[in-house]
Structure formats: structure tokens, C-alpha cells
Subunit: 138 residues, 2 copies
């Protein structure tokens, strides 16, 4: 069993190898909430995470961004709100995180590492919310 | 001449009127950087703003989010980085802001007000950068 959380991103060059299908089959069980999507001929890892409101979703995006800065590898982040419905949804905010490596136009091992780190941030967010720590707008 | 910046969002109900074509023709000259796009049968206002890096783009998203919270009207925010190219681009980060009103599945006057406020935030960001005030990751 690999442990992506213990890894750090490595510097990535244009000639770096994409993950193979075999590697993907090994890595994806660690990331059960992520989907592999194809856009413009590139494979990407995508997950949409739910929050109590827009502010919390945006705050989470900020936390992901901080880790991205530290690792020197950046995702696409989308923050949105859910439409009013009757009955109201359980969560009003969402943050979609998309990881891929632009230089190689596809998935590098770095992207799986960052997806695992994103999951951990989300777990921490839930734990903080459960302890009553404000997770709102600063 | 209208002055969107001096307006505040009004509470919006599902039966509120969408802006008419005539109103749009009156309002859009105040928003020369915005495009009207149609997605899933809904008109939306969209602008992509450039920043020196990802962190600055994300920080800007946070500032837009704060104004959105204050007005009770929320956009879709997308924060992304630009791919390394040769020569490198003048800006490495971007934030796309999309305003529309979910309840009426289209554009309300509120959206034009928020687009104008977004422009002002961007101008302030540029002014701060020019004065050497850090506009990076907190």
C-alpha cells in the first residue's frame, strides 16, 4: 500500500513521465472520492467538496492554496454556492479541486500526492467544525 | 448614466424580473471588461482577471467573497495558474468571476452591481501592488 500523504511533490519537467495505467490502478484506491476526468485530451483528478456555506468553501480553497504554494504545485479551484431549493440542501457551498500537471499535459504522481493532501485538509475542516472552531470567512 | 457602484443588492425572489435587453444595453457600457455568456440556457456575466501569481489570484477571490458575503449574493469563482511557456506570460495567476442569479436562472440588476464592485476591487489590487503593499498569500 502506498502512502501518498508522506510524499512531497518533486520538481516536474516537461519530459517527466505521466503516471501509467498500472500506477493509476495502484494509486486510485487511496483516493476513493476522486474522479479521473479527461479534458482537452488531458487526464485530471477532480473532487467536489461540500461546505455549510460559500464562505467556508472559499476558506477551504484558501487552505488548499497555501499547501499548493508550499509544494510549488497548483490546482484549479472553483468555489460556488448551491441554489435555493425546497427543501434546502444539506450544504450551501462547494469547492471543486482539480489537479493535473500542465507541463506534461496529464497526471504526474505529484497530482495524486496533492489530492491526498486535499483530502486531509477536508478531514481537518470537518474535525474543526465538529469542535465548534469557526471555519468561516476571515 | 447609471452608477452601479453606488447601488446595493436587493433581496431577490424567484419571481423577480430578469434584466431586459434594453436595460442590458444601458448597463454593459459600465462594464467593458465583462462578457455576457450563455450556459445551460442562463445568461451570465464573466470576467477573467490576471495576477502576478496563483496566490494573488486566490487572495483576490477571497476579497470578492467577502464583498459577496456582505451583499448576500455569491458568484462562481475560479482560480487557476497559467502554464509555463517560452517566453513566460506576464501574469501567472488568474481568477475568473461569474455573476448570475440562480433563483431567476439569469441576470438580475444585482449581478451588474456586483460586477462593478469586482472591477473596483481589481483596481484597488493594482493600486496596492503599485504602492508595494503585499498582495500575496496570507
Amino acid at each position: 500500500m502506498v502512502s501518498l500523504l508522506q510524499e512531497k511533490c518533486v520538481a516536474c519537467r516537461a519530459e517527466a513521465p505521466r503516471v501509467t495505467e498500472e500506477e493509476m490502478a495502484e494509486l486510485l484506491p487511496e483516493l476513493p472520492h476522486w474522479q479521473v476526468v479527461e479534458r482537452e485530451g488531458m487526464f485530471q483528478l477532480e473532487r467536489t467538496l461540500q461546505f455549510k456555506n460559500f464562505a467556508s468553501a472559499l476558506d477551504f480553497a484558501h487552505r488548499v492554496g497555501r499547501v499548493a504554494e508550499a509544494e510549488g504545485h497548483h490546482p484549479l479551484l472553483m468555489v460556488d454556492t448551491l441554489c435555493a431549493t425546497d427543501p434546502p440542501p444539506p450544504a450551501w457551498g462547494k469547492c471543486t479541486v482539480v489537479w493535473w500537471t500542465r507541463k506534461i499535459r496529464g497526471l504526474h504522481r505529484n497530482d495524486f500526492i496533492m489530492a491526498a493532501k486535499t483530502d486531509r485538509l477536508y478531514e481537518e475542516a470537518g474535525a474543526q467544525a465538529a469542535r465548534g472552531i469557526s471555519w468561516g470567512m476571515r
